[in-house]
């Protein structure tokens, strides 16, 4: 049985709960769960059978927690973007309705109205860029999509873990743990894109 190297899991746990990582390192040696970060350039050898079912539960819990934190951060960002969008939209509408011009009723008023409309439109464009396109994979909308996908994968992994416990299927358990490791990897990548700490 080939146990995968859980580098991404170790990185996430090192950040979230170093004490837990130390405990896991002692209980499950040789699968990359190390307190000191390591990236061996060689292939590691099989470590033999271990009680991975317990590991699966622990990792699921931590992955859920990490994903929730990320969802909170991204949601806050999305709210901020929405607020700015509302503000710029309102300013644009206000200016285009010539209310400013009406109130000031002079040449300056027209100028101010035009400037406000321009700034609002530019602001809207900027927010659209931040929301949709900035940095490509780092855009908020893409990150939201990735988060949704990760949540779905986590649910699948959870199901696999439960099934593996019931059927005593090591292969399924390994698959679940591998998937959780992948999820942690994606979370790390997203945290790096959002400028959050990764270690």
């Amino acid at each position: 049985m080939r146990v995968p190297v859980l580098n991404a899991t170790a990185d996430a746990l090192r950040r979230r709960s170093p004490a837990l990582l130390a405990e896991l390192e002692a209980r499950f040696p040789g699968i990359g769960l190390t307190v000191i970060p390591k990236r061996p350039l060689g292939e590691h050898s099989d470590t033999g059978p271990q009680r991975l079912s317990e590991l699966g539960d622990i990792l699921l819990r931590e992955a859920r927690g990490d994903l929730s934190e990320l969802i909170k951060v991204l949601s806050a960002r999305a709210r901020r973007i929405s607020l700015v969008r509302v503000g710029t939209g309102a300013a644009s509408a206000f200016a285009s309705a010539s209310l400013v011009g009406l109130l000031l009723s002079n040449r300056s008023g027209q100028l101010v109205a035009a400037m406000v409309a321009l700034l609002a439109a530019l602001g809207n464009l900027l927010i659209t860029y931040v929301d949709d396109f900035s940095g490509g994979p780092g855009s908020t909308s893409k990150l939201r999509g990735t988060l949704t996908e990760l949540t779905r994968q986590l649910t699948t992994a959870e199901g696999l873990c439960r099934l593996a416990k019931v059927t005593d299927d090591e292969q399924a358990l390994l698959q679940a743990i591998t998937q959780i490791n992948q999820i942690f990897g994606e979370i790390q990548a997203m945290r790096a894109l959002l400028g959050l700490s990764v270690q």
Partner: protein, 587 residues
């Protein structure tokens, strides 16, 4: 009378120059024989001095070669060398060594030329045999397990060992070029997109010197773009490939290491490849330690502050484990981890390897601005030398045939006036500018525009062609001429390095073309014939260009150039250091 004396004097000078350039092997020069004998004595004295320094007041013995070619042992007591040495037969040397006390010192040349004997001695007396260089710096010799056999290695430092052959070529690694190489170091780390920690490690340790790639296309593009650099590629190796796996263990990329090396070579760069295969464990030997990418990143970051490549490797070895330096199939230096030295015997065509540096024998040290400035200045100065040589030489050359300067001047003016189809009485009505130009270039034009120029050019072409046919024989493995170092003025090294006795003979044959030209030509130039004039000039310049740019120059010509350069060394060095200061200030 005066002309006669002057011409004969110059003939003597030319004869002397010819004697200098004729190889010792053909003329049995007694002077050079005496010099060689004197050189041997001087070498012996230098060897003893170096051995005394290497002994460091320890007791032992110096093993060296006697004048007769046999081996001799000279006892060392308290850092003093005995005057008398004992000659020992090779077959008895190992037995004698096993009974002696103290350290046995061996010069590195002896290790290079008699490595099997030294290996026997090390087996008999492990940890008591040391080699030393001409500066008297000692290094231990050890026996190391390499697969199923034992070989001697030179323990250069705690974590670096050399094979004997690599040791003899270590000068390359001791040059102070690491500053420039580090400035031009590029690290390409193959890291998955989701491994943010590893990416952060590389960026923190190496800053903008690192490029992280996560695909084969990007990897190869980055290697291609890294011209004239020290390229370090760090990635997981499986078999013959760089393999990148994602967090699920799925292979995202598989690229042959050989293709990376080829691209590095094409880009005129030096490669340092860090990877690992199968727990980096040589069969039956060595620890099962694995090179860690994060440690390697830190190691490269700290090692790049080294001054020489050897220091760089030493610092690297402190992090990634002991390194062994030997030579590969092509004779290039390479560095391998002791954890998998077996893999160093293959040149990226078979299984993976751990750490390998392939350094060509003539590394292309990247040109800095100061190098360009200096080279440009040197080329300009060299052109001026050539021009000056041609101009003044053309005044001296007619003396070889007994033609005095007045006659040459008269012929020059006549030829000039005839060439321009002016009346003859204009010879006495030349302007001052014309006189100046004619004094400089007149005789040269007369010489090259001599009658029969087409025939002479053909003669030159024939002789040069025949000489070329003999060059592979003459220039192949000639005995190196003992070019005095004072003639190796900077910029002239590339001339002197290939000067051998046989290439001197080659150049003499080529030079025969010139003398053939001179004897076959007349100094009564039919300069009105522009075609002949141009053909003659072309032929003359061709011979000179061939002589000047062909690396195997005649020693005689070379000495003249070396003397000229040496005389003007001081202003050139001043210019070089000023250029260096200027570039540093601007940087």
């Amino acid at each position: 009378m005066l002309n006669y004396l002057v011409s004969r004097t110059f003939l003597c000078i030319v004869a002397l120059l010819a004697c200098i350039s004729i190889p010792n092997a053909t003329l049995a020069d007694p002077v050079s024989t005496a010099l060689r004998a004197g050189g041997k004595i001087a070498a012996k004295v230098a060897l003893r001095d170096a051995a005394i320094r290497a002994s460091g007041r320890r007791d032992g013995a110096l093993l060296s070669l006697a004048y007769s070619g046999s081996f001799e042992l000279t006892p060392i007591k308290g850092g003093h060398l005995h005057v008398e040495a004992t000659e020992i037969d090779r077959k008895l040397l190992a037995d004698h060594a096993s009974h002696m006390q103290g350290v046995m010192l061996i010069h590195e040349d002896l290790l290079r030329d008699h490595s099997s004997l030294v290996e026997e001695l090390v087996k008999v007396r492990p940890d008591a045999i040391e080699i030393f260089d001409s500066n008297g710096s000692p290094s231990s010799l050890k026996l190391a397990n390499r697969g199923s056999s034992e070989r001697i290695v030179v323990q250069a430092s705690k974590n670096i060992t050399f094979s004997p052959k690599a040791w003899s070529e270590r000068a390359l690694l001791q040059q102070n070029i690491m500053r420039k190489l580090s400035a031009r170091m590029k690290v390409i780390a193959i890291v998955d997109r989701t491994d943010a920690v590893q990416r952060r490690y590389f960026e923190t340790a190496l800053g903008d010197r690192v490029t992280v790639v996560d695909g084969a296309e990007r990897l190869l593009a980055e290697v291609r773009a890294s011209r004239n650099r020290l390229v370090t590629v760090i990635g997981h190796v499986e078999g013959e490939n760089f393999v990148l796996r994602d967090a699920a263990g799925k292979a995202l990329m598989r690229e042959r290491i050989e293709s990376v090396h080829r691209l590095v070579d094409d880009a005129n760069s030096v490669s340092l490849v860090l990877g690992c295969e199968s727990a980096c464990n040589t069969i039956g030997t060595g620890p099962t330690a694995v090179i860690d990418a994060l440690m390697a990143a830190e190691a490269i970051g700290s090692a790049s502050r080294a001054i020489t490549p050897l220091q760089f490797l030493d610092n690297l070895a402190n992090k990634v484990g002991p390194l062994h330096i030997d030579t590969d199939f092509y004779g290039r230096l390479r560095v391998v981890s002791e954890y998998d030295e077996r893999a160093s015997d293959r040149i990226a065509s078979r299984s993976g390897f751990t750490v390998r540096v392939l350094v060509s024998k003539s590394p292309q040290v990247p040109m800095e601005l100061e190098d360009w400035i200096f080279r440009s200045i040197y080329l300009v100065m060299l052109s001026l030398y050539v021009l000056a040589f041609l101009v003044f030489g053309s005044w001296m050359l007619p003396f070889l045939l007994g033609v005095g300067p007045h006659r040459v001047w008269s012929v020059t003016k006549d030829s000039y006036v005839d060439f321009l189809e002016r009346p003859r009485h204009d010879v006495d009505n030349l302007t001052s500018w014309e006189e100046i130009l004619l004094r400089f270039f007149g005789p040269l034009s007369v010489v090259v525009g001599a009658v029969g120029v087409a025939l002479v050019a053909t003669t030159n072409a024939l002789i040069a062609t025949i000489s070329y046919l003999f060059i592979p024989i003459f220039a192949g493995r000639g005995k190196k001429l003992a070019v005095p170092s004072k003639d190796l003025a900077f910029g002239a090294e590339w001339l002197g390095q290939n000067a051998t006795d046989r290439t001197a003979a080659t150049a003499l044959l080529l030079g025969g073309g010139i003398s053939g030209y001179l004897t076959a030509s007349s100094f009564y130039v039919a300069a009105s014939d522009l075609v002949k004039w141009c053909a003659g000039l072309a032929g003359f310049l061709t011979v000179f260009v061939v002589l000047w740019i062909w690396p195997t120059l005649a020693y005689g010509w070379f000495r003249i150039l070396g003397w000229i350069i040496r005389v003007t060394q001081f202003p050139l060095r001043s210019i070089q250091s000023a250029a260096a200061k200027l570039t540093r200030l601007s940087a």
